[in-house]
């Protein structure tokens, strides 16, 4: 029997990004024992990388903004597949939770009259993103971290959970290992909150780090929870394309929010050529109007560069495919042109986009105050994930909650920029609150020792001398998903991917780890791989059943939207025999009031 350390909590939170930290703070304020685990060190989760800002209808810059507009924008951006109740709660509560960060020490950029400054972003009607230059995520995670460490929460850094445990149908704990020494740990907990982020490491070109292996999605799935909308992956239109070693690293949408324009090799602002019907009324008709919008003219409409991400990404793919791309297979994103409009443009750019300036200067030898950047789409975010109740964030498994990127519902078929950071705060808080309440009214569940032993044995299997290199299997998965289930999809390729996944599962069964259990990335990657394969399969199977194009899911064999498909979510569930099933189920219906708001804002 393997040696296992045991720890007891009322609420165990898996993940220390914005969602996990916010949930932990809320749960501990309810007086319960809270433990947080994360795969990296504290403060290094994906949230730290977020750049542009967090969306909240505070109305500091344009007082016409309010929750109703934010709600309608979010639903329109999500092409109405969103859970409308989540979109409503998010729009209503975001201002409060964003302002709360200030009470915990956050230093947001300010308006002239001393309020939180807000910036423009794609799909948001008014300037709505509270921000700190282009390092908003850093400010957010540091604020939550520095507040959280004084709240009596236990933090277990560099600890990875590999399995959720249940007793009589409800959550009773989680099993994992400490990365540093490789020892196993059993958490006995009345409630568990998953806040594990996304799946983007399943793709070759991605803005996501090694951590994004879809662990939370896979843990929940194996615990019997439903996943929904897994076909909806967001490819952010602007990732770096050159040099090769930085391919995929994000270029914030804030560049376009500050006036950056997209051009092709002919110097044409191609985004003006293709403006979707849904947005025609809200889009500028010429470059001059676009510039007036970004500089705060309330009568101007936004430039087409600020259309939703799914659309901008596809336009870029088209330009490249039709031979009008930049030298390294992207298009040009230019902010330096604002020199012709602003006297102190260079300083302005450095002040507003300091880390972009730094990133291009250091990594690509490009001075963005003087020349255009080369950009192209990069895998960025998953809209799909664990199906949750809008009020409590509880999954379909009692005692299992989910918040942040690993949960689904708020964003529908496409997420608006800035809506993730506010999502983390709104639903992290709700999940923490509900999990503490659940823990207060339930007694600890039993732990099945045989199950723990089996999981420990499984975790050690890579040391049995398998001959597949885990990093190479991961690489094969990434290039396959990139080419077969990427931005542009079609039936035959996705079928090929499903077959390919079967082969990768077989290779996975033979992965081996060298060396010992102490801080061994090869071993860790071998264990993460199973989650990546599970999520990739869920993505491919979901994408196959949605025979239409909508938001982040685009099929050349079904180019238009299908009104029937507008009524359903795709649901992934594990069958009793362990196989993956996919079905379609009706959306959460809108209330009359919600429908009315949407009609008003058309």
């Amino acid at each position: 029997m393997a040696e296992v350390r045991t720890l007891d909590y009322d609420v165990l939170i898996i993940g220390a990004g914005g969602a996990g930290l916010r949930a932990a703070i809320e749960a501990s304020s309810a007086g319960v024992r809270v433990g947080v685990v994360c795969k990296s060190l504290l403060g290094k989760a994906h949230t730290v990388m977020a750049e542009g800002g967090m969306a909240a209808a505070i109305g500091n810059v344009d007082d016409r903004d309010n929750w109703r507009v934010h709600f309608a924008d979010t639903m329109r951006g999500g092409q109405y597949l969103n859970n409308p109740r989540m979109a409503e709660l998010h729009a209503k509560e975001a201002p409060e939770v964003v302002k709360q960060l200030e009470a915990w020490g956050a230093l947001f950029d300010r308006t002239k009259d001393g309020k939180i400054l807000q910036r423009n972003f794609g799909g948001h009607k008014y300037p709505r993103l509270a921000h700190v230059g282009d390092r908003t995520g850093l400010e957010m995670i540091r604020t939550l971290q520095d507040h959280g460490i004084h709240q009596g929460i236990d933090f277990h850094m560099e600890c990875t959970v590999t399995k959720l445990l249940k007793s009589a149908g409800s959550i009773s704990g989680a099993f994992g290992y400490f990365r540093e020494r490789g020892q196993f740990v059993l958490f006995r907990s009345k409630a568990v909150v998953l806040a594990t982020g996304g799946v983007g490491k399943a793709y070759a070109i991605t803005s996501n780090s090694w951590e994004y292996t879809g662990d939370g999605h896979a843990l929940a799935y194996h615990a019997g929870a439903d996943l929904i909308d897994m076909e909806f992956i967001q490819f952010h239109p602007t990732g770096m394309v050159w040099p090769p070693s930085v391919r995929g690293i994000l270029v914030t949408e804030g560049v376009r929010g500050e006036g950056g324009v997209l051009t092709n090799s002919e110097g044409r602002r191609f985004m003006f050529d293709d403006i979707p019907e849904l947005y025609r009324n809200q889009t500028a008709t010429d470059p001059e109007e676009g510039w007036r919008y970004v500089t705060g003219d309330k009568n101007a409409n936004r430039p087409p560069e600020l259309l939703t991400r799914d659309h901008v990404a596809r336009c870029i793919v088209r330009e490249v495919k039709e031979g009008r791309g930049s030298p390294h297979g992207g298009v040009f994103l230019d902010i330096s042109w604002i020199k012709s409009k602003l006297p102190n443009a260079e300083d302005h750019i450095k002040k507003k986009l300091p880390s972009m300036y730094h990133q291009f200067k250091e990594l690509a030898d490009v001075d963005i105050t003087k020349e255009a950047m080369e950009v192209g789409p990069t895998c960025h975010y998953i809209m799909g994930g664990i199906r949750v109740n809008a009020e409590t964030q509880m999954s379909t498994v009692p005692g299992l909650f989910a918040a942040g990127e690993c949960a689904a519902g708020l964003h529908g078929a496409n997420r608006l920029g800035g809506n993730s950071l506010s999502d983390l705060l709104v639903f992290g808080r709700r999940a923490g609150h509900a999990a503490a309440e659940y823990a207060g009214s339930h007694s600890p569940g039993a732990i099945d020792q045989a199950e723990v032993d089996a999981e420990a044995a499984k975790a050690l299997k890579p040391f049995d001398g398998g001959d597949e290199n885990p990093f190479q299997v991961q690489k094969s998965l990434q290039s396959m998903m990139q080419s077969l289930v990427g931005i542009v999809r079609t039936e035959s390729e996705m079928q090929e991917a499903v077959v390919g996944l079967g082969e990768l599962w077989q290779r996975y069964a033979k992965v081996g780890a060298d060396g010992n259990r102490e801080f061994n990335p090869g071993w860790h990657t071998a264990l993460d791989l199973a989650n990546q394969l599970t999520c990739s399969e869920a993505i491919a199977r979901s994408a196959l059943v949605r025979k239409e194009s909508r938001g982040g899911h685009f099929r050349i064999d079904f180019e238009g939207k299908d009104p029937e498909q507008a009524k359903v979510n795709t649901v992934i569930r594990q069958a009793a025999d362990g196989s993956m099933t996919v079905s379609q189920e009706p959306l959460v219906p809108m209330t009359d009031e919600q429908r009315q708001i949407i009609d008003e804002m058309k």
């Binding site: 990388m49 020490g105 850093l138 040099p243 070693s245 102490e518």
Partner: protein, 249 residues
């Protein structure tokens, strides 16, 4: 593709040796790419921390050719590849394995700093009125990505091991952010001197020199704090005055 030799420190708990590996060097590549390439091909168990690969998370700190750096921001084209490139863990902290060190001291040191304590909100909706010029300095300190390179080079920690007495430059600028926060009402002077050991800093500025975020740790953070400590302890009038008018720098 051209190749280069990387001598990577391998070992556990301080016992180990350099191991030589070849890596292919492509245009624009950074040292972290080489390390990950070696890990993915011939040294799967090579321990290294990284996350963002863009200088934003502060995970990948190491010493490249003896210089404390973020590996993800160190371009191969900026170093001499005709000689083997050495890559070692930070030296001020206990080694765990290969390039990974035990940085828990830095997290514990931060706990010695009292949390943010704001004055009551200025406005009815629970917000405050704060102008950009009041937070410019604080925002500089908030750029810190907690890479701990400054802690690694500070001689008070690295050579003199004053981990119990001194919180180090990173945590001092955390203190500075709080002390200069326009809303914070906590009196932090005594703590700076007694619990945080600001007196140990003798302004060598080695910390500022390695900061990847170009934070002027010494000039803008530590020196003004030292002045406050001096004022606060030796000039009770100045201290009282500051209390009365608030603490806006």
């Amino acid at each position: 593709m051209p190749t280069a030799t990387f001598k990577i420190w391998r070992g556990q708990g301080g016992v180990g040796a350099f191991e030589e590996h070849e890596a292919e060097v492509s245009e624009g590549m950074v040292v972290l790419d080489a390390v990950l390439q070696i890990q993915a091909s011939e040294a799967n168990d090579l321990a290294v921390r990284w996350n963002c690969k863009a200088g934003k998370c502060g995970s990948c700190s190491a010493e490249v050719n003896g210089k404390p750096r973020l590996m993800c921001m160190t371009r191969c084209s900026d170093i001499d590849l005709t000689e083997p490139v050495t890559v070692e863990p930070m030296k001020a902290f206990p080694q765990i394995k290969d390039l990974v060190t035990d940085v828990s001291y830095n997290y514990e040191a931060k706990l010695r700093v009292k949390p943010f304590n704001p004055r009551p909100p200025d406005n009815e909706d629970g917000t405050w009125t704060v102008y950009q010029e009041d937070i410019d300095r604080g925002q500089e300190f908030r750029k810190c990505i907690e890479c701990f390179l400054c802690q690694n080079v500070c001689h008070v920690l690295r050579e003199h091991q004053k981990f119990d007495e001194f919180i180090g430059p990173r945590v001092l600028i955390h203190s500075a952010y709080l002390a200069m926060h326009p809303l914070d009402v906590e009196d932090r002077t005594r703590d700076l001197k007694e619990d945080q050991g600001i007196g140990y800093c003798n302004i060598t500025k080695c910390c500022t020199a390695v900061c990847p975020e170009s934070i002027k740790i010494t000039d803008n953070g530590i020196i003004p704090l030292k002045e406050r400590v001096a004022d606060g302890f030796y000039d009770p009038v100045a201290k009282l005055f500051r209390r009365l008018v608030g603490k806006s720098r």
